[in-house]
Symmetry: C2
Subunit: 133 residues, 2 copies
């Protein structure tokens, strides 16, 4: 997903248009990997950058760094630099604001879990029905 929702919402807020509450929230975790980052940091505590890389092996180095930066800009995560040694490590953790998103993320997890179970049970080709042409 794209980040266009996020940029559009930012523009609307700059224009004084606050009639985008749902989109504003969506923009917080819209974008590839963001939901997973928030979920991991929320349920398992803080992680170093390279640990997040290991948790999300399909995420490219560049995109992971970019998404973390955006989450930090949105005040959802904290970034702490540990400069003790030859190598610098950076630890990420959820802010209280980021933690306040967890009920929504968890609700999304539960909804998806239940829906996937239903589809599996009824064997409807996993429910990804195509409209008849």
């Amino acid at each position: 997903m794209t980040d266009s929702v996020r940029k559009l919402v930012q523009q609307r807020l700059r224009d004084g248009d606050y009639t985008c509450r749902k989109e504003f929230t969506l923009a917080m975790f819209n974008g590839k990997w963001k939901v997973n980052i928030i979920y991991h940091l929320g349920h398992e505590g803080s992680y170093y950058f390279h640990e997040l890389q290991a948790l999300l092996p399909h995420a490219s180095h560049k995109e992971l760094a970019k998404k973390l930066k955006e989450l930090q800009e949105d005040s959802l995560i904290d970034r702490e630099i540990e400069d003790n040694g030859p190598r610098v490590k950076v630890a990420y953790s959820l802010t209280p604001l980021g933690r306040s998103l967890l009920p929504i993320i968890d609700a999304m997890y539960d909804w998806g879990d239940q829906r996937l179970r239903e589809l599996n049970v009824h064997d409807v080709q996993f429910g990804l029905g195509q409209v008849k042409q």
Copy 2:
């Protein structure tokens, strides 16, 4: 917003990978206008296509039709053709499954509402902080 999350999730499910519950849910309402469509249909009942157009004046004719088709494919909305007269009208409404998403959408509304109030009160340039370069 894009639909890449939706397509990616569909592919993962086809591959037998069900470890994407949160992304699966996100894919339901990710994509421009979808959250608003669900919200309107959920809180105000069914609408004709042209009524939705009026409710979402910035959505192009093409994209609105496309998103409605996707929502229908995902079994979130029903589509009913009323062919009484020279002009055909099409009514859209939420399915029970679509209605089951409302608690999440409403939670997103509430989160965004509260967050925007906080930012307004504290006047932090509406919180869209930029990371120092």
